[in-house]
């Protein structure tokens, strides 16, 4: 693998279930993502997108194959080691925002830092919120923010640990078109600043934001389009 490769998946297979009921969600899947790239993963539901997202995000381990993340083989790490990789190297953005409703915006952004004992958490959280243009909403609770603003808080939370990768799973799935454009603009801006971004989506509107798009079908790569 090359020096500027952030992600290197080699013949990844992920099988669910046991015995006769096994389903292969990914079959002999290989993919390389360079540092600083922005990639859109597209495909219909059931194509293996979510499985790919879980493996890329170190939320799950492959049944077979190897996965190198930033030069480290993460395919055989245990749960605790995977938790450390997620905490230090990956920022997640989810379709449902996944903000804790009882915490203010900045407290939500602070969360990942609590799991690595960083001391100036408030400053870092405010800095991340500023990057997504929400400096005036730091003490608002999620319920007091619009969907687009909530997703931007979630992006700030993904950013706050200064991760190698931002992994966004259907980031615009719950947003109206204006908010979607907002959120995509933030993601594009982050990519332009040099951050690697992978967006998993079935929305063709999202793909142009990325400089490369891959299509998945039945757990396999069907084609690659460079923008």
């Amino acid at each position: 693998m090359g020096p500027d490769e952030l992600i290197h998946l080699e013949s990844i297979t992920k099988v669910y279930g046991t015995g006769d009921a096994t389903v292969a969600a990914l079959r002999d899947f290989s993919l390389t993502v360079a540092t600083g790239e922005s990639l859109a993963v597209m495909g219909p539901s059931g194509s293996g997108k979510s499985t790919l997202m879980n493996i890329l995000g170190c939320l799950d381990t492959p049944s077979a194959g190897r996965y190198w993340f930033a030069g480290q083989d993460v395919s055989s790490l245990n749960e605790t080691e995977l938790a450390h990789v997620r905490n230090r190297r990956i920022g997640f953005v989810f379709q449902q925002f996944q903000l804790l409703s009882k915490l203010s915006a900045w407290r939500n952004v602070e969360l990942p830092l609590l799991y690595r004992n960083v001391s100036d958490r408030r400053r870092l959280a405010l800095q991340a919120l500023e990057q997504v243009g929400l400096s005036d909403r730091i003490n608002h609770r999620p319920g007091q923010l619009s969907g687009g603003q909530q997703q931007r808080v979630a992006i700030a939370r993904a950013l706050v640990t200064d991760p190698d990768l931002i992994l966004a799973d259907e980031p615009t799935g719950n947003l109206d078109s204006t908010s979607s454009r907002d959120v995509l603009a933030v993601l594009r801006e982050l990519n332009e600043q040099g951050r690697t971004i992978i967006i998993i989506t079935h929305d063709p509107e999202v793909a142009p934001v990325a400089n490369r798009t891959v299509h998945l079908r039945d757990g396999q790569l069907v084609d690659q389009v460079a923008a």
Partner: protein, 404 residues
């Protein structure tokens, strides 16, 4: 995640469900309070029994008729009166019983005492001069029954201080018992001992008078009280008494003995065993309520884990390790029970303060049961928190995130 933040997160979660947390805490509170209060009551009754028995003097030996072995202190006694005044005479022999200091036969019954101004029902004992020594009592005013009174069947009576006060009589006055006049020749000094049965409410008359005029029964006596010369000679006094009685009863085989000799230490240990058993019984019931409280904690923690599944998934995605989540839920359970335990101590101490004043039941609270109850409460929380916490720690992040 630092411990401080784990606690902070836990507090926020518990305060987020205030009513639920309070109700769960109540279960532990009552459990701990019940343990403290019941052990306190048991301890107090044990203390009171011990104090009463030791106030009778540890040198005391009691001979009762019946063939029970020494373990069955109260059983069989008095089923047939096999003790007589001849036994008393035999036991008073200094030659064959050098370690017996005093002997007092006792025939006892309830009797109504009538004075000029009042009447009063009390326990009346027929005995001899030895009664005062064997019961470790002293005379407050007047004199006690003498050997001469016994020999002459004198119609004289010595009263306990409470009895004398209730009858409104003093030394020199006359009280009627079964229409027979008795002259009050002495009043006992107050014993001060309290508890079951007042030691200052009694009357003593010469045993000969009691046998002939009051209770009947010829020369048989219900029991014989003896004092050993000292605490260290109780053993030899026991042997001497038993030998003399076997002889006077013409028995060769000690296993055929138709009498039972009991020492105060035996009575004491039996009484303590009884109160201890009762205390354990009560405390067990209380401990069960503590256990039920613990199950309540587990229940609520399981509900909490289920409710917060997506939060758990999110925290995992953000980098919480299985241990972080395990610790989170164990600490939340521990906080619930610790608070419940501390409030339970407060409630238990309050019960210990109020009950003696309101219901005349003594409660003695010692530090040990309090510490044990709190320790058990917290342990219960941690133990019952483990299973829900493991559930949380084992949740797969992806599935947890999808739950909504």
């Amino acid at each position: 995640m630092s411990l401080l933040h784990t606690i902070e997160t836990g507090l926020r979660s518990l305060l987020g469900h205030r009513l639920r947390s309070v109700l769960t805490t109540l279960g532990i509170l009552f459990g701990v309070a019940a343990v403290i209060a019941t052990v306190g009551i048991g301890q107090a009754s044990s203390d009171s029994v011990t104090a009463r028995i030791t106030s009778l003097g540890t040198n005391l030996l009691t001979i009762s008729s019946g063939s029970n072995v020494s373990g069955g202190v109260f059983g069989g006694g008095g089923s047939a009166n096999t003790l007589t005044m001849d036994d008393v005479t035999g036991l008073q022999d200094r030659q064959s019983a050098p370690d017996i200091a005093a002997v007092a036969p006792v025939s006892q019954g309830r009797a109504s005492l009538v004075s000029a101004s009042s009447n009063w029902s009390t326990t009346l004992s027929g005995s001899t001069a030895g009664w005062l020594v064997t019961n470790t009592r002293t005379i407050g005013s007047g004199t006690f029954i003498t050997d001469h009174d016994v020999a002459t069947r004198a119609q004289v009576i010595v009263l306990g201080s409470t009895t004398a006060a209730n009858l409104g009589v003093g030394v020199g006055d006359i009280v009627m018992v079964k229409q027979i006049p008795f002259e009050v020749i002495g009043v006992l000094a107050a014993s001060g001992s309290q508890g079951f049965g007042n030691q200052d409410d009694l009357g003593v008359v010469p045993i000969s008078t009691a046998q002939d005029e009051l209770f009947g029964g010829g020369s048989s006596v219900q029991r014989i009280l003896m004092s050993a010369t000292s605490a260290s000679t109780i053993g030899s006094a026991y042997l001497e008494a038993s030998q003399i009685l076997l002889q006077t009863h013409h028995l060769a085989d000690p296993t055929q003995a138709d009498f039972t000799i009991t020492t105060q230490t035996q009575v004491l240990s039996t009484a303590q065993a009884v109160t201890q058993t009762l205390t354990i019984l009560l405390a067990s019931v209380a401990a069960i309520s503590l256990l039920v409280g613990g199950i309540g904690v587990m229940n609520i923690m399981l509900v909490s884990v289920t409710e917060r599944t997506s939060e758990i998934g999110l925290r995992k995605a953000l980098g919480a390790t299985p241990f972080d989540l395990f610790r989170q839920f164990v600490i939340e359970a521990g906080m619930l029970t610790a608070v419940g335990g501390l409030l339970g101590v407060g409630t238990g101490l309050a019960v210990g303060y109020v009950v003696p004043r309101a219901a005349n039941i003594a409660v003695t609270i010692t530090p040990l049961p309090v510490l044990v109850a709190v320790g058990v409460a917290v342990a219960v929380g941690l133990v019952f928190g483990v299973y829900p916490a493991l559930r949380a720690a084992r949740l797969a992040p992806i599935e947890a995130l999808r739950a909504q």
